[in-house]
């Protein structure tokens, strides 16, 4: 049975992070929008060195603190509330979970301590680029080494990462997709280009590989399974962030409606606004539930629930809920909410980007349809 109730330790962790972020992170998201799209290195150093945030839920034998994924979700909830721009999602969720899924002890022992410390950043380049000018990545053996050639787009933190994990088909085996690791510091033939993004606080890149040396991770042919698992864990982590973002947007809307006067009274005293907020609270509460449920399923292998179905449930629900609340927040604010200066559009951008980043709600629901036996 999934544990849906927040533990006192998780509440305390959230309180600590909320004090630390203290409202300045939405400003950081703004800086990202107006600046170069890079993270605040000093804040990341504080979060990782003083708080040990990056290694929070990574295994202790790899330098982490060994907390559960549900504890990590509590931290993500707070990051989502304030739109914290950080390498957390790409590096210690997507990349670390994908590596953990391979069970490759050598690579894990070598790579994870750096990710835990936050001193090394990693990502996974798994999305095929659109169009004919972006050929799929192929791996070819060059004596003992492997070399990758091809192109990947939409790579989260692709320009910031020190290590890039790439699933690729090999010419010589029929066994499907294998996983490769590229060390950016020694990667001739790698070119990286930042993509213009809707949500600048979450950079994406286009990566081009041309006979770039790479190291095989895990068993040949086991790459697709590892990536699928890594993406499922990331969807669940993102859901916690989405629930936090939705919660903050509704708070902002309610605060504003309580102070903004029109027709001689606060707009929050009109039923049209009240009833809209009531409907939004149902979505916020439900998003919290969906995110916690999935986090609990992903934390405890003893829970007899399917990880992928839990990810699809949380992804489908929280994506739609966050976007709805972020969009309605702008409507409740009226004109001021449509301005560049107001934070409302930063949440709107994050919500829209999160809605599609690891699968659209429709894709998640299509998975659930198969899971429920409603489609083949």
């Amino acid at each position: 049975m999934a544990d849906l109730v927040e533990s006192p330790e998780q509440a305390e962790l959230r309180a600590t992070l909320r004090r630390l972020f203290g409202g300045r992170s939405a400003c950081l998201a703004r800086q990202a929008l107006e600046g170069d799209g890079h993270y605040d290195a000093a804040l990341w150093a504080t979060l990782t060195q003083k708080l040990g945030l990056a290694g929070l839920s990574l295994p202790e034998r790899y330098g982490g603190s060994g907390y559960s994924r549900a504890d990590r979700a509590a931290a993500l909830h707070e990051m989502g509330r304030c739109l914290l721009p950080s390498p957390f999602l790409a590096s210690v969720v997507l990349a670390a979970e994908t590596l953990l899924a391979t069970g490759d002890e050598d690579v894990l022992a070598e790579v994870l301590p750096g990710l835990s410390a936050g001193t090394t950043l990693a990502t996974v380049a798994y999305r095929e680029g659109p169009g004919y000018d972006c050929p799929p990545v192929r791996a070819a053996r060059d004596r003992t080494d492997w070399r990758l050639t091809g192109c990947r787009s939409f790579v989260l933190d692709g320009c910031q990462a020190d290590l890039i994990i790439v699933p690729a088909e090999t010419a010589e085996t029929e066994s499907g997709v294998s996983l490769f690791l590229i060390d950016v510091a020694a990667a001739p033939g790698l070119s990286r280009r930042a993509m213009r993004t809707l949500d600048s606080s979450r950079p994406q890149a286009l990566l081009d590989f041309s006979a770039t040396p790479a190291r095989l991770v895990g068993d040949p042919g086991a790459g697709a399974v590892a990536v699928r698992k890594g993406v499922a864990h990331t969807t669940i982590a993102l859901a916690a962030e989405q629930a936090g973002g939705a919660e903050r947007c509704l708070e902002a809307a309610v605060e504003y409606a309580g102070t903004r006067q029109q027709f001689g009274r606060p707009i929050g005293s009109f039923q049209a606004i009240k009833h809209k907020c009531a409907d939004l609270l149902i979505q916020v509460e439900s998003a919290r539930t969906a995110a916690r449920y999935a986090a609990s399923v992903s934390s405890d292998p003893a829970i007899d629930e399917d990880l992928y179905a839990a990810a699809a449930l949380a992804g489908a629900y929280c994506s739609a809920a966050f976007f709805t609340v972020a969009a309605e927040n702008i409507q409740i604010h009226g004109g001021i909410g449509f301005t560049w200066e107001h934070d409302a559009h930063l949440y709107f951008r994050r919500a829209k980007a999160s809605e599609v980043m690891f699968g659209t709600p429709l894709e998640h629901r299509a998975f659930l349809a198969r899971h429920l036996g409603l489609s083949a």
Binding site: Q271, A278, L362
Partner: protein
């Protein structure tokens, strides 16, 4: 992770975590309960056979008065057996025959009961045990608590609400039924309406106007009215579903002793709110299991349209998240804690899903919803479609719930 201690910040719906139940957890508790059911000769229900057997998705119990009375009698016998064996009011303190466990334990037993061939617990049981019993415990004198609470939990006493009136629906505080003090008694006169299953109840919780000279919320007093007193007339009201589980109840100079006044004179509004909060909390499980029946039906029939499959999945998703949210809220609420305005969230979410269920079944069944082909699991859905609008009104309309959520949970300014 190094974290420093500090105040715990929580969201809108802060709840206290329940104390750990001594030496037990929910799954093992349910297993123990099922062991007891087996030991007294109860049988597990055969799993729903899609395509054959009884099929009902009725929202309201549409029974003849005689069927209704028999169903209530069967239910009471079962509730007494359960209560006497210590499986009745497990989330109530021991002094009321309970075990002082968190609400999750009670909810888990209710869910487990659905798997067994047991008398169905209709609406009057929810009103008696989940709404009026907690109200008497909260507001009753020690004599009233002694006289009623165990009896309500054990269903020796069945009780209904006497709240709404023809001129007091959403504006419940506008009730006009008069309560006039006369020596040791009160004399009640007026007309109550929408009282579910009043014909099977022995008592009614009546909200009456005891002082017309003060603002409307301040002039109300609550009573526990014995329904066999002279002057009480109960008449069924036929609903749009065709059934008649609601009633109008006429009070014609009904003489009630002051000992049956519930709560202070002039405190009737607060008493009513206790009952209504409990009602809304209880309503969050309205329509439970209906969406699963639709999914099973869709699987059985096969659905070719991907658009329709997606409609069904969207509904399933909302239903599943509501079930999980109810579980979470129950677990967050300490045992015995009074439900607050949060109940409105659960009720509104449940009634919105009922409405969506009607919409999606319409797309799935199309012609078979509007004319009976005799095919299993099809035309019976009209009971869901015709019943759903009722619960968007009963216990406070969707609009009233939204106003409560906005003002009492979100703290938005009153209009």
């Amino acid at each position: 992770m190094r974290i420093d201690s500090g105040s715990v910040e929580r969201g809108f719906l802060a709840g206290e975590a329940p104390p750990p139940a001594p030496g037990t957890n929910v799954p093992s508790f349910v297993r123990e309960f099922e062991g007891w059911l087996e030991s007294i000769g109860m049988r597990r229900r055969r799993p729903d056979q899609v395509g054959t057997g009884d099929f009902s998705v009725a929202v309201f119990d549409d029974q003849t008065p005689q069927e209704e009375r028999m169903a209530v009698d069967r239910g009471r016998e079962w509730e007494r057996t359960k209560y006497d064996a210590g499986w009745g009011a497990v989330d109530w303190p021991e002094q009321f025959g309970g075990r002082g466990l968190p609400a999750t334990f009670a909810a888990a037993l209710r869910a487990a009961e659905h798997e067994w061939d047991l008398p169905r617990r209709n609406e009057l049981f929810a009103v008696t045990q989940n709404m009026i019993a907690p109200t008497v415990r909260e507001w009753g004198t020690s004599e009233q608590i002694e006289q009623f609470v165990r009896g309500l939990l054990r269903t020796d006493i069945m009780a209904c609400q006497l709240f709404s009136e023809p001129e007091a629906g959403s504006d419940l505080a506008a009730v006009r039924t008069r309560a006039v003090r006369d020596g040791p008694d009160w004399v009640l006169s007026g007309q109550k309406v929408w009282s579910s299953m009043a014909a099977c109840a022995q008592y009614g919780e009546a909200i009456c106007r005891s002082d017309p000279s003060v603002p409307k919320h301040a002039g109300l007093t609550a009573f526990l009215v014995p329904l066999d007193l002279p002057g009480v007339t109960i008449r069924p009201i036929r609903q749009m579903t065709g059934g008649a589980c609601f009633n109008e109840v006429f009070l014609d100079e009904v003489r009630v002793p002051d000992a049956l006044r519930l709560g202070p004179e002039g405190g009737g509004w607060r008493v009513a709110l206790t009952t209504l909060s409990a009602e809304r909390s209880d309503s969050s499980s309205l329509g439970a299991g209906t969406v699963d029946k639709m999914v099973a039906l869709a699987r059985h029939r096969g659905v070719r349209s991907p658009a329709l499959v997606d409609e069904i999945v969207q509904l399933w998703l909302r239903d599943r998240v509501l079930v999980l949210t109810n579980e979470r809220h129950a677990a967050e609420m300490r045992a015995g804690l009074e439900p607050g305005p949060q109940g409105s969230l659960g009720k509104l979410a449940a009634t919105m899903n009922m409405r969506r269920t009607s919409d999606v079944i319409t797309l799935l069944l199309a012609d078979e919803l509007i004319a009976d082909t005799g095919r299993w699991g099809t035309f019976a859905w009209i009971e869901q479609v015709l019943g759903a609008p009722g619960y968007r009104i009963a216990g406070g309309s969707d609009e009233i719930q939204r106003t409560i959520i906005a003002e009492r949970i979100l703290g938005m300014p009153r209009g």
